[in-house]
Symmetry: C2
Subunit: 243 residues, 2 copies
């Protein structure tokens, strides 16, 4: 859309070959950019179209600005991703702040499941969290509170330390799923030579299908599986704590 100036000084654009539209300044003088606005727009784009859609130009367009303008508020694209991680971790921290529970285990469980519920709103975020190398303050803070919870609950710091490692990304509410092993055998159109190569998975899925014939074959209840693994770890830690 190219702007022109008529001889009376007014600015106009050609809407159709026979229709010009004179421009009068009517919009408010545009709220200025800021690191925070950039990061929030980045999250909105990733929520809508995935991280691969998150480019500097697209980000600028969403903010009604030019790509290079962003660089006055953000160091570079990596800085955007680091910032996004920090904002989401902050969101999580805000959500878990007021959690209280009778035992360390119940409290940890609720914190983690709450964190998970936030990741469910940003399905692209786990991959970004996992990919970042810089330490996010909010992520550190999240783990700090978790350690505090365990320490107050009777953990030695040493055991709490191991506990963090044992939980891994599960502490933050997601477990990096490489792929869904059930997919391989679940669909009916699985080639027979592949089925023959993985008899145990085929057997497993057959049994699961038998137990619950109504369920969609080969799909797993993510929430259930997540809680299963989480409880496995938490129960193991509880046993170590009282040992």
């Amino acid at each position: 859309m190219e702007e022109n100036a008529s001889n009376d000084g007014k600015t106009w654009v050609l809407v159709t070959p026979h229709l010009r539209c004179t421009i009068t300044e009517v919009s408010a003088p545009r709220t200025p950019l800021s690191r925070d606005r950039v990061l929030r727009a980045a999250i909105a784009i990733a929520d809508a179209d995935g991280v691969e859609a998150l480019t500097m130009r697209r980000l600028a367009r969403a903010l009604d600005a030019e790509a290079m303008s962003l660089y006055h508020h953000v160091k570079n694209k990596d800085d955007v991703l680091d910032g996004v991680v920090d904002v989401i971790a902050g969101e999580i921290n805000a959500a878990v702040e007021h959690i209280t529970a009778p035992t360390w285990k119940a409290a940890a469980r609720e914190r983690i499941l709450t964190a998970r519920s936030i990741f469910l709103r940003h399905p692209w975020a786990p991959a970004v969290f996992a990919g970042r190398t810089a330490v996010s303050f909010e992520v550190v803070r999240y783990h700090d509170r978790l350690v505090g919870l365990m320490h107050d609950g009777g953990f030695s710091y040493d055991l709490a330390h191991h506990a963090l490692h044992a939980l891994g990304s599960r502490a933050l509410g997601f477990a990096q799923e490489l792929f869904d092993p059930g997919d391989a055998g679940g669909n009916a159109d699985v080639p027979p030579e592949l089925a023959a190569a993985v008899p145990n998975l085929v057997g497993m899925l057959a049994e699961v299908a038998h137990d619950d014939p109504g369920s969609t074959l080969g799909w797993c209840d993510d929430q259930f599986e997540f809680e299963f693994g989480l409880d496995l770890v938490l129960d193991g830690l509880e046993r170590l704590r009282t040992a």
Copy 2:
């Protein structure tokens, strides 16, 4: 380096402004490209300079070919990454094939630690594994054998299924470490306002430092932590199995 033809028909290149070098075909007629060669070269590049150095042009250069030539053996770059995953998973399967152990737990433990030892040679690989969405045959096969191991050891398929989820990426020998929480408080140059914000981590690291004053502060023994988490899960599963 531009090739020219002199009037006697010989091909030559200009090495310096005053020195031409006639070309005589001396190298063997170059082993032809193949999907396998491409994938192996890709792994070699990633091993040497990281995945971000793995571009189609760089890959072609390593194979003494042009970028577009690769597309006759590989669908596109995603296909390269999928293939790389499959090759490495195959490497793992080959390494764990002959493992035998008295109990399912010992066998699973050894398989997983063996897989881990291979990832230690390809530090960039976990991120690629985690990022891929396509199912790799070799990865499926790896999990299939693990399920078989558990089933033979007395697991119901249902429990084995949950076990896969509980192990997550640990089943393959790596646990996605978001960041090393110890980094935040370990170094002496941590800003005081940050230290004040994460008192539990600071306390934890102080105690760990006290217990083991000789160790480098804030660093963790990855191997130990990995085995700690792995055993936590395996012990929990063993308890469920016999329940």
